[in-house]
């Protein structure tokens, strides 16, 4: 369960995030939808606690992110915008490294790695160094290490960006799997189809503000449009300006 309340962030004179509030419930996928530069990444960075909010608050399962970042971060798994890997380490070593930093015992860690090998179909690459991995393979490794500690809340910043069809499918299946386990999943995207295919709830952002929030049906009703794409355009404006 994630609550973001009145988040603000300013870089110099530029207001990147302006009074953003939304909630993401457990057992559902919440999509942050908006054009590039709408403030999605900045909002997520404040939610996962690496960026200090200029104002407002973030609660993860009732724990305040600003006051107790280490406790709150234990409850989230994050795939940031940039999820670089270490070219000289194997896929397994990546997952072990993060698992150890999360304080997971060895036997339990091995059990979880076996679990993720199966879910993400990593068996062919698990003991190879990641230097030659494809973009899809990298994303899978980054995902596995991001959620190795079995967090209740999962934040994914444009997880399918630049992925091929097969890898996109694998990521979508993973997101559905996590929802079925009753977790709170938040993911951002600027791709309409991505959001409509997965999300139970959509938070539409434009120019640093939340423009609309609700289920896909609610958004259609709100705008009086018949397709989500038209609804999106009418909400953020044809040039990405919030209406």
């Amino acid at each position: 369960m994630i609550h973001a309340k009145n988040l603000n962030k300013q870089f110099g004179d530029f207001v990147a995030v302006d009074n953003v509030s939304f909630s993401a419930p457990d057992g559902a996928v919440t999509g942050l939808l908006g054009p590039n530069g709408a403030g999605k990444t900045t909002s997520l960075r404040m939610i996962y606690g690496l960026m200090k909010p200029g104002g407002g608050s973030v609660e993860i399962d009732g724990i305040d992110m600003v006051a107790k970042p280490l406790d709150a971060q234990k409850r989230i798994g994050v795939l940031p915008d940039l999820s670089g890997l270490y070219p000289r380490l194997t896929a397994r070593e990546h997952i072990i490294y993060y698992g150890q930093l999360q304080g997971i015992e060895k036997a339990e860690l091995n059990r979880r790695i076996a679990h993720w090998i199966e879910i993400l179909d990593l068996s062919g690459i698990i003991d190879r160094r990641v230097a030659g991995f494809s973009h899809g393979e990298r994303t899978k490794v980054a995902l596995a290490r991001a959620i190795v500690h079995d967090p209740q809340n999962i934040l994914l910043d444009e997880p399918t960006n630049g992925l091929d069809v097969m890898s996109t499918r694998a990521v979508r299946e993973l997101i559905r799997h996590l929802r079925a386990e009753g977790r709170c999943v938040v993911f951002s995207s600027h791709v309409m189809q991505e959001v409509s295919a997965l999300c139970d709830r959509i938070v539409v952002m434009g120019r640093g503000k939340v423009v609309a929030e609700g289920t896909p049906e609610e958004l259609l009703a709100l705008t009086g449009m018949t397709s989500l794409e038209d609804a999106f355009v009418s909400l953020v404006g044809p040039h990405g300006e919030a209406a």
Partner: protein
Amino acid sequence: MNKIWIVAVKEWTDGFRDRRSLYTLLISALFGPLMIGFMFSQIASQQKGAQEIKIPVVGRQHAPVLINWLTQQSGVEVVDGPADPEAAVRDRKSDFVLVIEKEFAEKFRDSRPAPVQVVSDVTSQSTRSKVSRLNSLLNGFSSEMGGMRLMARGVSPVIVSALKVEQIDIATSQQRAAMIFNFIPMFLVISLFTAGMPIASDSTAGERERGSLEPLLLNPIPRWQLVTGKWMAAMGAALLGMLLTLAVTLVMLSRLALEELGIRNHVGTGQLILLLAATAPMALLAPAVQMFVSCFAKSFKEAQSYLGLLMIAPTIPGIAAVFYPLTNRPWLHPIPVLGQYAMVTEILGGKAPEPLMLVAATLTAAILTAVLLSLATRLFTSEKIIFGR
């Protein structure tokens, strides 16, 4: 503590899979000692060359006594000189030529000073030791003959010596050999810097460049532990590089015949421990400086170019210390880099630094390291560093 160790082990594993860092480690460990070895053997061969001397003589028929005497001296060979001695020396065909003039025989017979000329080029460094050997041979002949003449007249040759001069031999080659010794501390400190560099820059600037810093910081580990773990890995590599350099240096010193160069090799087990104690503080400090500097770089390459410039810092006082030895100035000891140079030079010279100074040197280095690491920790929390690319 446990998490610091996890980070250190990861960085260490990652670093040592990088061929670049292995090569720099090996090169840095071998370069210094090999250069010192080369310089020593150069001096040794020069000195040997001075002992064994070939004297080109023009007009040997005028002075059979002198030629006889010369050939009886050890390591001396007399050969026929060139027709034009001055031209031969000017064109570097001969290092020097001994010219015996016509009136030598007559004047020698009359017990008057018999003229000889030594033709040489004073500006030529390489021949200087040979020329001075020739001069001392000629002086030896002169005083031996003079003594015999006095005895023939019933006078003791002792009365012409108003002074009894005892030569304490500090030949130029020995000075130069001792000077080379002063390079050893510099190479030790440089090896610390080069060996620690790959991990120090890859674990900071490299982490930013790959975009792996952001996900890493999301793990529940305090930033200072993360920084300390990375520093420990770099320090391990730096220490390894320094130990390797020290080992190669010591093996090389034991192989070189230092005694022939008039240098006593003082290095035993006790000195070895002292050497380590004297240089260890820099092993703490060097990786901390490198990490702090690398935090400002956005890429591994950028960091490497900063760190390359940083290397000049220990090199300049190192070279200066070769010409202006830092010994007998204990107040230098606690100052990083300068202290290491002073202490290592003293230890190699057979003098132990004060234990208090060793403690002081370690303390200043440890305090500086702590300051730098806490500054680096601050940078690791800065949004500009985490997200700025």
